[in-house]
Symmetry: C2
DNA sequence: TGCATTCGTTACGCCTGCGTTCCATTTTCC
DNA sequence: GGAAAATGGAACGCAGGCGTAACGAATGCA
C-alpha cells in the first residue's frame, strides 16, 4: 500500500523525526548503525557480518564495530553459528525491539502532524 | 493533511531511506547536522547560532562546527548581521537546496514502495 | 565614558568511527 | 592428512565530533 507524499511532506517528516531524535538524544546512532539495526530487524534472518557488509556496501570492520557498539547498548546480540563456526549470527534483543518501536512511534507521530 | 502510517510502514520507510543514503554515501551528515540543515531550510529565517542551539537543545559550539563542516560542503552560508554585528545569519545555498531535494525524493520514493 | 552582557568562535583533551592490513579459526577440497 | 579459501576480529594511525572553558568583538546601560 504505497504512500504518496509531496516534497514538502517528505522533508517535513524527516525534519520532525530528526529534530525529535536530536532533542531527546537518548542514544544517538550513526546513520550507518541505524541502517544496520533496521536491516537486522526488518529483513528475515539469518544475518552475518559478511552479508550485512555486502548488503550495505560497507567494509566488514564497519559491521563488527557497529555490532560492538550496539551490543553494549543491548540493541543486538551475537551468536556463533553452530553449523559453520566461522559465521556469527546476529540476533535481535528485547532492547532493540523497544528502541525501534519508539522510533516507529516517532515517525508515525510526525506523519500525523503533517 | 496528516499521513497515517502503520508501525511497519513507518519503520520500513525509515529503513529504506537510511539504507539508500548509506549505500550511496555521497556525503554523510551526522543526525545533528541533518537536523540543523533541515531546520535552516524548513523554518522561516532569520537563523542564528544561538537560536539554533536553543531550538535543537545543543551547545553553541555544536552549531558552529556543524556550520563549518556544512559550509565547506557548500550546503549553507554565513553572513554577519549588519544591524547587530555580533550576530551571524545562516543563509541557504543552491547546493543545500539540491541536497535536500534529493533527500526528499528518496523519502518519497521509499514511501511509494511501501 | 566605563563596565557588564551577549554573541560567535577557538582551544583543549577526549572519545568514537573510519579504512587498511594482518591474523586466528574453521571449513573445503584434493 | 595438508593446502587453500572463507570468516570474523584485532591492531594501527587518522580524521572528526564532542563538552567545557576560555576568548575577542560588539552592544547596551548606568
Amino acid at each position: 500500500m504505497p504512500i504518496e507524499l509531496t516534497a514538502s511532506q517528505a522533508l517535513g517528516l524527516w525534519h520532525g523525526v530528526s529534530l525529535d531524535q536530536v532533542r531527546h538524544d537518548d542514544r544517538d546512532l550513526t546513520l550507518r548503525q541505524m541502517a544496520i539495526l533496521l536491516h537486522i530487524y526488518l529483513v528475515p534472518p539469518p544475518h552475518t557480518v559478511r552479508g550485512l557488509a555486502a548488503e550495505l556496501n560497507v567494509t566488514k570492520p564497519v559491521i563488527t564495530r557497529a555490532l560492538d557498539t550496539m551490543g553494549e547498548m543491548g540493541l543486538v546480540d551475537r551468536v556463533r553459528d553452530a553449523s559453520d563456526r566461522r559465521n556469527v549470527l546476529i540476533k535481535r534483543t528485547v532492547g532493540g525491539a523497544l528502541y525501534l518501536e519508539k522510533l516507529g512511534d516517532r515517525v508515525r507521530e510526525q506523519g500525523r502532524k503533517l
